[in-house]
Every structure is written in C-alpha cells, then in structure tokens.
Symmetry: C2
Subunit: 445 residues, 2 copies
C-alpha cells in the first residue's frame, strides 16, 4: 500500500489484512494505542464468529455494539411473544414493553396479512408504438418464465416465484421510458438477491428478443436497458395491526384526566399527525423506532423497511400518519397499516448468531408471522409515544432514561447514581441539572 504525504489517502487499502487496516486506522488517531484497544475490545472472543461478522461487509476492523434487549408480554393473535429489540435510543424498549403489557389485558394485538407481493423492474428505453410491445407481451412472458426457470426452481418448490409480468408505458413522464414490471412471491425470504437475479436474466432476454423479433423494424429494433432492480417500495406487501378496548378501560393510563378526555386527546394527536406533515414525520419515526429494533434483531434490512414505509406514508400526495384511530360507541380502536418486505430465511437471518437467537426467541416464525410481530411492535411504540405525549410529556420519562447516560458521562459512582436517581424522581433532568447535582454532592458547601 502507499499513502500520500498527509497520510490520509491510501492506495490498496481493501487488499490489506484486517490487522494492517486496523493499525493504519489507529495511526490516524492521536491516541493510537487507546484506539487500538477500544477497537479490539469489541471483537468477538471466538475467532470464527468474528471472521463471519467481518465478512458481512468490507474494510471491517471492529464491531459496533448496539444494546440487545427484550420486550416481553406481547400478545399477538392470542399468542404470547418475547420480542428481541436492538436499539441505542433510551425509552423505546420500555415504551414497547409497557404498551404490550397494557394491551395484554385487553386481548392483545390483532394482526392480519393483507398482501405479500414484491416487485422489480427492468427499466428500458425504446422508441415505437406501445401497442407493438403489448402485442409481443405473451410471447416475451413465456420466454421469461422459461429462461428464469432454473433461478426460480427452488422458490417455486417453496410456493413462490414470478407471479405477474407486465410491460408499462412511461413515455409521458420520460422520453422512450418503458419498464417490464415483474411481481414476485418470495415466501419466507426478503428476496432481494432472488428478485435481482431474475430481473438481470429478464433484461438479457429483452436485449436479445427485441432486435430479432420480426414485428419490429428500424429504430424499434433498438432497446436500451438502463437498469434491472427490485423495488423497495412494496405497497402490496402489507400488514395491519390493531388494538381495541372500551374507552373506560383506558383509565389507568392517565391519572389526571378521565378516560374520555384521554381518548379525545389521543385521537387529536393522531388527527394532527394526519394533517400536519411536521408532526407526521415524528409520529411515524416513533413507529419505526420499534419496527427497526426488531428488524435489526432478526437480521433484516431496516433501510429497505424505512424507505418503503415512508414512501407509503406519502402515497396520497401528502406525507401523513401511518396509524389511525377511531372512537365509536365507547370503543377505542387503534391501528397501523404498513408495508413490510422482510424475511426469516436468507440474508443475515441465519448467519448472525444473535439474529438466529432472535428468531428462535420468536418461535422461528415465517415471514408472514414476523411481519405481524413487527407491525404490532411498531403500533406498540406509537401507542407508548402518544400516551406519554398527551399526558405527562415525553421528557420526564425520556430524561429519566437518559439520566443514566448523563451520570455515566459525568463519571458518577454507583453511590452518586443511586442518590441522583432518588433526587431526580421529583426534579427535572437535564445535563445542567445533573451536573449541578453532582457538584453539590461532591463539594457540599
């Protein structure tokens, strides 16, 4: 490898050994020895497992540790779950657990799979009358199903595969732009690699098919494939989770107001998230706090889930709340409808030792069951956030949770922590107030 004079540019880095990479990175830091130790401390003690983790990605020198916790007492369709959650933010697991426990007394979460369609597209440029493309569609479709048969064989054996093929005309939006939209059923896998492999095969069929087909002439024989790729937007891979109880049963959630008043405020909070985008973003963020935590714990790709869910939230032209509420005849019903393209096989689900354990803890669910669990947790976190917001506000709870972080940052001893916890039961937590409290404790005047 070579580095330039300031030492920050490097050639051949990816080819270096892990230990050389680590040393080079540590040399970039003032406290190289301390950095080396910090980075190595996070290595897994078993070499073969560390190697496995390293090979998930590239240029890896350590592992970033994110707290792995559990939210017990989730009842979903009558079945109890202990849900693994991986999240660095305080209050999220507490909120999910509290909501789960509350709803366990009122029938728990009811969930249903609405649809499980995934899709991908071969995006291509072609100049000619669309009717001519439509005319060859049946022929092309047969060719596609034949040519992808070896790729789809295993998936078909499990009940999945290609379920629809359609050529779409987008020339109104972009000159010559068309796509072959392909729909897939990927059963228990998220299916990204499977879908992309199929699409790249379909693209190569299209490239051969168009120029040689007798119905095309002149410029119609030219097809330019731009790209072939799955869509992370899966509005038809949809799950719904809901909870319901008598309004009067909400009484324990708000000691200061009647259950009717609590329900009314809760409803207003949801309505506000439906009409105000500034609120909707944060409202939905709270849903994804729970969703991502379970996604990461089970080895799923949270970026795909986020991109899809937020696009779905904007599907009607205005970004809005993903959850909804109704209060009718004294019954409070609250629900979340969200697209979730996730898997329980493939990817890291079986590879990451803790993803595997997470799935075991959930009873080794299939993808449909996991979709329902994840949706229930998203609803639980949304419920917990709104409950706090419309009653005592989130800062009391949140800053209490954050109190430990501040105490750690100020290097409080265990005795000091205990005194601080006691004191801040009745006082507002902020970095300043905690710092002041510790100073007073350490230097009593």
């Amino acid at each position: 490898m070579t580095t330039n004079t300031n030492g920050k540019l490097v050639s051949g880095f990816s080819k270096m050994s892990k230990i050389d990479k680590l040393n080079w990175v540590a040399q970039q830091l003032t406290d190289s020895e301390g950095a080396l130790e910090d980075l190595k401390d996070f290595w897994h003690p078993k070499e073969e497992i560390q190697k496995l983790l390293d090979e998930f990605s590239e240029n890896t020198i350590s592992n970033f540790a994110v707290p792995f916790g559990v939210a017990p007492n989730f009842i979903i369709n009558g079945k109890p779950y202990v849900v693994p959650m991986v999240i660095e933010e305080s209050s999220v697991i507490a909120a999910a657990s509290n909501a789960a426990k509350f709803w366990s007394k009122y029938g728990g979460f009811k969930t249903e799979i609405i649809s499980t369609i995934k899709s991908g597209n071969v995006h291509f440029m072609w100049d000619g009358p669309f009717e001519k493309l439509q005319a060859i569609q049946p022929e092309l479709e047969e060719l596609i199903l034949d040519a992808t048969a070896p790729i789809t064989a295993n998936m078909r054996a499990r009940g999945g595969g290609i379920t629809a093929i359609e050529i779409l005309d987008h020339t109104q939006e972009l000159k010559n732009y068309h796509k072959i939209r392909v729909e897939f059923e990927t059963v228990d896998s998220m299916g990204a690699n499977f879908i992309n492999s199929c699409l790249e095969e379909i693209a190569s069929i299209l490239r051969d098919f168009i120029p040689q087909h007798p119905s095309f002439e002149g410029k119609e024989k030219e097809v330019k494939v731009i790209m072939s790729i799955l869509s992370n937007y899966t509005p038809d891979c949809l799950v719904k989770a809901s909870v319901s109880c008598q309004v009067s049963e909400l009484a324990e959630l708000d000691k200061d107001h009647s259950p009717e008043e609590f329900a009314w405020k809760f409803e207003q909070a949801v309505r506000i998230a439906q009409v105000d985008t500034y609120r909707a973003t944060t409202h939905n963020k709270g849903i994804f706090n729970g969703i991502d935590a379970v996604a990461i714990a089970t080895g799923n790709d949270f970026r795909a889930i986020e991109a899809c869910g937020h696009t779905f939230a904007s599907r009607n032209g205005k970004y809005t709340s993903l959850s909804d509420v109704s209060i009718e005849n004294g019954v409070f019903t609250y629900w979340l409808t969200i697209p979730l393209a996730i898997g329980t096989v493939g990817g890291l689900t079986a590879l990451h030792p803790l993803a595997k354990r997470s799935l075991e803890l959930l009873g080794n669910p299939g993808a449909k069951e996991l979709m329902q669990i994840v949706a229930a947790v998203g609803l639980a976190n949304n419920f917990g956030a709104l409950k706090s917001l419309v009653t005592k506000g989130i800062q009391i709870g949140h800053m209490k949770m954050h109190l430990m972080n501040i105490l750690n940052q100020l290097e409080a001893s265990e005795t000091e922590k205990a005194e601080a916890v006691h004191y801040f039961t009745h006082h507002k937590v902020s970095f300043n107030s905690v710092s002041q409290f510790l100073q007073n404790l350490r230097n009593p005047s």
Copy 2:
C-alpha cells in the same frame, strides 16, 4: 417476578437483574445453554463499558454486533477523510470506497451547508378568532423567551437557542387546531432533548397565559395542549454535496461503452428515479445505506434521519429522487440535497466508545462538518449503486460479496473458500450454485 403457565408472560421483568433477565430469556429457548453462551459472548470484556452500553436502553441482555468498517480516500472540500461506517449489508462500504477513490482524482466532493434550522411545536386546541391569538403573540413571545432562559442559557452561550416563535392557524385542516411553532439553532447537538425541554416549558406557559389574559373571554379562555414535541422533519437543516468532472473522465467506469454513453445511461437512471416512485424508493434507499452507516458510527439517530429525508423526498406531492444530475457542455455534475439534523455532541456521541473513536477519526468535526461528510457519503453510495446498475448490474458485485456469507453458511473450509472465490470469478453466484459447487468439491464423481 411471576410468569403464567405457558411461561411467556412475565410480571416485574423490568425490575429483574440483568442476569435474571438473561436466564429467563434463555429458558424460553430449547437450547438454553447455547443461547446463554451466544448472548454472553457478545458482552464487552470490560464490565464498566458493558454497563454503560446496557444503560443506553432497557431490558438489555447483550449487544448486537454490527460490522464497523472504514471507507478511506474521501476528499471533501479539499480535505481528506477516512470515514467510519457501521453496516451489515455487503457492498455498501466497498461502493463508498470506490466512489471516494474515483472522485478523489477529480477534485473530490464539494459540499455546502444551506441552512441549520430545527423546529418543534406546541400543538393545541383553541376556539376563537385567530386575530386575537396573533395580537397576543409579541407578549407571549417575550414570556416564552424569559421563562426558557434557564434552559437555553448554555445553548445561547454556544451561539444557539430559540430563533423564532410563531403561532399558526390550522383550523382549516382540523377543528380548533393551532400550534406554536418554535425554531431553534442547536449548534453541534442534534438537540432533541433541548428542544423538547423548551417546548414543554412553553406549553406550560401557554396553559397559564391564555386563561388569565384579559383579551380572551368565554370559551377563548380554554386552551387544550395536545402535545409538545420537536419535529424530525427539518427541511431547513439542509446540506448539499456534489461531484463534477468532464464526461470524458468517466471513461474508466465502463469498459464496454463510451463515456458519453455511460453518462447518458447514468442520467436516464436518475431521471427514472425522478419520475417513477417505485424506483425512487430504492434509489434513495441506496443513499441512506451510506448515510445511516456514518450516522450509526458517530452515535446519531438514523431513524430521525430516515424519517426526515424520505418526507423531504415527497415534499412536492410525489415521492422522488433526492439526487440530481446534469450533463452540460461536456461536464457531468451530480449532486444530493438532503436535510440532516445530526450532532457531534450530546446523545451517544461521546458515550459510546466507538462513536467517540469515529468522531476522532473524522477529526472531531462540528455538526456542520459532519452534515457535509454524511451527505458526501450518501452521494458516493448513490453514485456507486447507479454506476453498477447501468453497467454490469449489481448482482455480480453483490453476490460476490455475498459469496462469503453463503460459504460460511455452508460451513466451507478455508481451502474450499479459496477454490470457490476462484471459480465464481467467472460464474454466477447464487445459494444453489455455491451449494452445488461445494457438493461437487466434496464428493467428486
């Protein structure tokens, strides 16, 4: 604690010690001993650091390890960076590194901060003529600035604080709905706790102010605060990153086509993401692959970033691409404009040992500098994804990266891995093909 008969429901769980929680969770699994070992293996060897990690969240029993790697050779505004990235998905760090290296030859990334405004709202219901609220705004504003002075003191000393207060009328959208919108400058912190603490104080001022003010009468004296909370949607906390070169300089990126043809295909790929929502979601997902990886590495909240960025992508009524491209007079220019409300102080930035090291590796940037680094990495990953998509497709690279995962899953030996890597340089990687290859290797016929 008590558990019910099926053993999955539990009372008092959050009060249990960590070890009791761990044991209880392990008991839920068939292989309790193995699960205990797996979960404990991921503990940090230093007790005090593990305790620190545990206290970030609740009900924690282990740490979920996500690969921590680096992408060297980022040149941003002329300054070289080695960027820490935390991500479990293969190819993301490789794509960022390759894009960084390519652009380092053509001036690197140019970035600029467009704005740094954050905001939050006190959402309230009030029934009366809006002019009356507008009339008391100056008085209320003064009261707010006074009452929040102790909370904002430190932030003001650092150059931040409350920068604007406005009462808004939303009664057209929801009966009686108004809000006090407050704008903040939070300097180097993401500012969530600071903003929420201010807003809760403002809500309590509003609750006292309205009923006692002489200009209100009858029902106008009633104000119902629904909630007080920051907005994660920060369209005015905006950063732009761009790269530019002569079209002819793109030659090395596509051996099979002219640089003009490559540039044309690349441009079409961006245009498609601008007109087709199904593509836009995945296009932006690729941007967040890089953004989230740096966000996590530096202790920032990726869910807030995702919610904000995707809302921003839908701001004009249709969810669309966050990046854009132009090819003019033989010059290729490619850029990303994205809101990023992130921090380099507060939260976990200094608490998580590796977040701290990540920030050191980046030269301990302020929030504005980190916004620019993160945006550059987002653009780099987007560039890398499009480059692959419009040339050889992503499956070759992606499946090569995934080859190691598959080999590990099939428990391949180091010799088998070496043979597989050699073989799959020229063959298509899929779970089936690798499995077949290993079978042939193990049982030569």
